[in-house]
């Protein structure tokens, strides 16, 4: 007879590893299945530099804040089908042990208290089934586990936090730019799950390779900082390269098993509890591919959204020494709860200590200008210098979670027979108004003293922040999971990740996703 596990966790990213640690430490029998294979990013950061950087391997590490190079370590990348071109969702999540948590920027914001009750306060969207205050203790715990660095206090940010380390110093660029952006945008040090300790003691080394891999392992990674602590426990079994295809309910209102693809054939795995921790899109693919109750299926995928982004390329009058310090240290969050939030979505401005358009920082600018445009001599130096006055700033804005925006299954299937996710998203009236407002704001920024030019170099949906689709709520007819992320319909199924969000807010969602996971794990109804 096949073994029945106590807990089966689908996915090994941030949510999956948090759940695994919780149950493994209780001595329970835990199985973790992960679609991707084990991957280990190279120890030598040079291995994932741009080709051009091999010419300058003695130069300080700069300019690396992209996914380039890391891709090759993920042999099974995610595909998606978009039904619309405008505001298409360019999915950027990863398969592999550690999931996308192995390759994230570390931005560690809490949502604002207002984000939890947009319907009550501003008349749009849906309120969350719990308040910020109820989630706050879980945020505290996440900040401890993730060794978050952040400011002790932020103007207009009255609620407490539990940052383990002080905030990173704002870069020189931030200081120069901040003077010109005020008073509309007040730059504040951003919190990051990155150890703010001296470089030789394991802290950030300013290498700018945060997303791909921190050479000092100073940025939180679930595979390194959680999984490695429990990987040798006898009661934990990990199955990499094992995609989950469906979950199988029984007639008693529980999930009896899951079907996975293991060693070239489908296999069922039984467990007392199932934690779906494979990120919003993957969770929905598995759920929609399962034979679940029609009342649950009818709610799945509804209200999908992500953050809107508008990338600005800003040229200042003076030199900025772009690239000194971390890739980003500051954001303007005084705009999150602006006075017009009843008609316009929440937004924030993130300042990047690099320039996306030229390849960031003078070193990369010189390489690009030389290799691609063949400049030399005076012109080369002049253009390199001009590039050093240019930096990127990104408006991140809330998108309304409209029920007509949804994830369904495509008729196209992946290599394991699991249909791809089909995204049907179009911005609503509020989203369009917000977008136009930000366009005008960008134009006005260009008129400020000290700012030479502002250009919008791109916009779209953030491919790293898929949110909504299995909303948390108290009403089973309008939501998929309850306030503890337990399925309304199957009492041993917990669905983790950003799909449970009721509003996107404008701040990076990772900490909220982790806090929701800890909330789910605190559910007193889980018993063995």
């Amino acid at each position: 007879m096949k073994k029945t596990y106590d807990v089966c966790i689908i996915g090994s990213g941030i949510t999956g590893t948090l759940a695994a640690e919780h149950f493994v430490r209780q001595g329970l029998d835990v199985l973790m299945v992960e679609r991707g294979k084990e991957f280990y990013l190279p120890d030598k950061p040079e291995e994932y530099w741009h080709e051009e950087w091999k010419f300058t391997s003695d130069a300080p590490l700069i300019s690396r804040n992209t996914w380039n190079g890391a891709e090759k370590h993920f042999d099974d990348l995610v595909e998606i089908e978009n039904t619309r071109k405008e505001f298409a969702f360019h999915y950027n999540m990863k398969y592999g042990i550690g999931g996308s948590g192995a390759v994230w920027s570390g931005a560690s914001w809490r949502l604002t208290p207002e984000d939890f009750k947009t319907r009550t306060l501003f008349g749009y969207g849906s309120d969350w089934p719990f308040s910020y205050e109820e989630l706050s203790p879980f945020y505290d715990r996440v900040e401890e586990i993730f060794f978050t660095s952040g400011p002790k206090s932020i103007p207009d940010w009255p609620w407490r936090n539990n940052y383990k380390y002080p905030a990173f110093k704002q870069s020189y660029l931030d200081k120069v730019v901040g003077d010109h952006l005020a008073p509309e945008f007040i730059l504040t040090p951003s919190p990051f799950s990155v150890r703010n300790e001296p470089p030789l003691e394991g802290g950030c080394v300013g290498a700018k390779t945060c997303v791909t891999k921190c050479p000092a392992n100073a940025r939180f990674r679930p595979d390194l900082h959680i999984l490695q602590k429990i990987i040798n426990k006898q009661n934990l079994k990990i199955l990499p390269g094992t995609p989950c295809l469906s979950i199988n309910p029984d007639k008693k209102g529980t999930i009896a098993s899951i079907t996975v693809w293991n060693n070239g054939k489908p296999e069922t795995i039984k467990s007392k509890y199932f934690f779906l921790a494979a990120n919003t899109i993957e969770n929905l693919r598995i759920l929609l591919n399962s034979d679940l109750s029609p009342s649950m299926t009818s709610q799945l995928g509804l209200g999908f959204a992500s953050h809107g982004t508008m990338v600005l390329s800003i040229t200042m009058e003076e030199r900025l020494y772009v690239g000194r310090g971390r890739p980003t240290t500051s954001s303007a969050i005084n705009t999150l709860n602006h006075p017009a939030r009843k008609s316009l979505n929440s937004f924030m401005l993130e300042i990047w200590n690099l320039d996306f358009t030229i390849g960031s920082a003078p070193h990369a600018a010189l390489i690009n200008l030389r290799k691609k445009e063949r400049h030399w001599g005076r012109t080369l130096l002049q253009k390199t210098r001009e590039a050093d006055s240019r930096f990127a700033a990104v408006f991140i804005f809330e998108m309304e979670m409209r029920r007509q925006n949804r994830i369904t299954l495509s008729h196209v299937k992946d290599q394991f027979g699991l249909p791809l996710a089909k995204v049907d998203f179009s911005p609503g009236e509020r989203d369009r108004l917000t977008f136009r407002h930000l366009q005008r704001t960008a134009e006005n920024l260009g008129k400020k003293s000290g700012i030479k030019d502002v250009r919008i170099s791109g916009y779209g949906l953030n491919g790293n922040h898929p949110l909504g689709g299995y909303r948390a709520g108290s009403n089973p007819d309008a939501s998929v999971v309850d306030p503890w992320m337990r399925s309304h319909h199957y009492r041993n199924l917990y669905i983790l990740g950003g799909g449970a969000f009721s509003s996107t807010g404008a701040l990076n969602p990772t900490h909220t996703i982790a806090a929701l996971t800890l909330k789910a794990l605190s559910d007193k109804r889980i018993s063995f």
Partner: protein, 168 residues
Amino acid sequence: MRGGCLQITRRNFLKTMVTLSLSGCGLLSSHDLLKEREFKYFIESLLPLGQEKIETFQSELPSLLLKIGTSKKRELLETYILFRKRYLKAYGKKTAFTLEDGEAVISKMLSDNRVSHMVNSALDSLYFMFLRSRTRDVISWGRPVSKPGFRCLYWEDYDKPVRVQDDK
């Protein structure tokens, strides 16, 4: 070797072979090139950084040359030799060097189909060497790298104002 624009005299050929092929820094350890006026003009035309910075960069060249391959070094030297020849022919009688003269010579070399590939490649090598130099660090970051040998970008001082006088 006579005739053709890539003419290298026996003396220069020997120098090339001895100084470039056998030891990476031999080229400049002999100080022959560094002492040549035209070599300074060549570097200055390609990197008009001002006298002080050019001298700093040139003093770094021996160690920087160690890090590039022999063929690249040869291209660089052959490009310089070509520059010297053309510069002396066109402006040899002038007493003072002007940037415009140097640029005119380089520009013609770049538009000469017979040598433009080599010249472009040599320029790449020179600029990538420049990227590795401390001179470049100071120009880029406003001050030297904080901890030599430790790959860290001004951890201690990345938030401080830069020494703008370095940037003139």
